[in-house]
Amino acid sequence: MAEKQLESTVAAGAFQKQWFGDLRRNVFDERLPYALIQADVPFELFDLLGIPAISNQWWSAIISAKRLAPPFFDAMARDGLPDGLCRYCSLGMAATRYREAGAAPWGGLPKPSLLCARLTCDCIQPVFALWAEAFGSELFVIDNPGASDLPPRWWELTRHDWRKLVEPHRLQFSIQSLERLVAKLESISGRQLDRNALAEKLERVNRQEEIFDATRKLISAAPLTPVRMTEQIANVMATQWVRGSDWALAHARQFHDEVAARVAGGVAVCPDERIRLMWVGAGMWHDTDFYAAFEQSHGAVFVWSMYLAFGPDGYIRYGLEDPMAALASRTASFNEYLHNPPWASEWIVHQAREHRIDAALVLRPASAKPSASGRLFIETALEEAGIPVLPVESDMVDSRAWNPEAARAAVRQFLDSRVLQ
């Protein structure tokens, strides 16, 4: 595994492990509630009602990064679940339903008080239904209306004009859905949601994402990339899962300051940087070394992934007189921002230009149908913008069909033939 170049990355990893250990102790020893939720469910509501929440995608990435996933996927296959079904959203479920098949990280998940998912992709409902059944826990679903009006350059509207981003009927429905969720969480926690505290929380999330925005600008403007993409992700996501907390704000600041010091000192990931790469799609968690594999041979550095950039562009909401509406406006269109035309391709091309990207690698996961769709529009838009694209056929968390050497050879050939030409 590539060495960690930033102290904040080490601190982020240690925090997550400690946080998870504390959560297990609290659940087992103190019988306190916790929730298992999809990444796009508003964590803020759970936090304010004293119910810590674990992200399905985070847990899936942890299992995969620790190379513990294959036995669970094999168990799914033995149970008759087709190989073509989404792996990313189901690995956590598999580690519970087939717990005897392998070892989950850090002792595994305790039984949650609630599972909660937005019905973005068609697979979410059946996967979470199986997961809830395996735990014997309740499932709360939030339906997901489709967007019919997608104004251009969404990232310029999210902060101040967020009401223009979501059609009124869809926004109203999303608010009602979150209110139903609040009622459910209140019944679990025995507390009442403090609306002023919600506004304060969202203010703090804004502060955190503003720091990420400043960090993004440091990285994009620096002559040479100061921090590896994998370390950007580790710092950002550890913070996002507990966003708006004291630790999150302090850590975002620590990460920013460390990046700023590296930029000021002229410290680069790869002093011989010649090619600036972007990674389009979710992380390939089972082989994160892949992202540092072309630094020595080609001076090729991954500068950008969606994880740092999406925080400031997707989360910041100014004008918090109605905090639930602001929160609903963020929640309502996650998939459209990141996967669907025209929003995803338009934003990614914009980000590529901002970061002076020379070439893009686009993840093509065969099993994750939502992530697999929309990518042809993204690839076409990047190519039309003069940015060569290499599709990478891989799953985010399932390494069983992944050939690391062949994949690296394909990238080297791509860099030689299409980028260094």
């Binding site: 073509g84 409902q125 997901n144 429905f173 769709s373 042809l376």
Partner: protein, 375 residues
Amino acid sequence: MGSTAITALHSAFSDTFNVLGQDSRYDRNVVVASWPSVPVEVIRAAGFTPVLACSGAGATPAADEVLEAGVFPERIRQLMQAALTGRLNHVAAIVLPRTSDTDYKAYLYLQELRRRGRLASLPPVVLFDLLQSQGQDIAVYDSARVQDLLVRLAGLGDKQVGAADLSVQIESGNAARAAARRLAALRRNPVRVAGAGMLPLLGARWTMPPGRYAELAGDALQALAGRAARTGPRVLLAGTPVDSTVLHVAIESMDATVVDEVSPYGIDVAGGDIDTAADPCAALATWYGTHSITARTPVATLIRRFEQSLADIDAAFIVLPTDDARFGWDYPRLRDLLDARGIVHAAISGDPAADHAPIQAVLARSRGVQAVRHG
């Protein structure tokens, strides 16, 4: 008269989408929907003829350039192919429901292709944002979406449309549903019609004017009711809902009969009647939200529907094509239910016309079970 009715019903099921693009005067009165979770009553009330996109055997080279491989079902590929080759240029509108990810993404793709200038002549594309989870907020939301669809479609024509028009369509639609239920009864105890013949008779309900459908279905019923009972294994199709008879033909070439399929083109075309006493938009929203078989039908609803089909079944096939993202998750539950009842079964993921072996194996086992049961 009966054979004429059967021919007309089969044609209404098989040909309505394929003939688009041949006569612009006919096309102007057509609204194309990608799945029958779009209320045909609304389309008719607005003065248009509903036509449903469907799977076909034709190649889809233009669609394959813009749709990712292994993600979109055949019916969406055919719809996109027709749009990209100009066959839908003269229809009044294309309506895509939110009831699967691929339908929703097809809506976004069509809009984007238009924005990029590749579909400059495409008619209006409308998203019908029907949600299928449960709750009062869902019912209110869906009812408003039905109203919105009616307003949008009515705005495309010169017809003044109101609630009374919807009520008329609901009432005549209920009569057609009743006729479909009578036809579907020929599939059980005894089985008088092969599934490959029955599916089009039922599926035509979506696209044919309801009064005409009820009349022809009645004629077909008379012609078919006297047929000799079919013997051999009785088969259920579940998993990804079928919208063609390809699998029926393959199964029935081996002396079995498909007597039910969990699909909006089978008996689910009829379902229960739509409430005529309620507000028509709310009644349609309730019916389509709860009865539509889609990728977003709640798990419990699908399983319940499946369980209702298991009486008098000898074998089942779970259809799981490679583009499936949803129905495969139910496989362990369906398998356990079938095993508990001693019903032989198999998953079908490839082309049934090309590979008969898994079908043959299951049907052979089901005949063995039948022989033991009946001495």
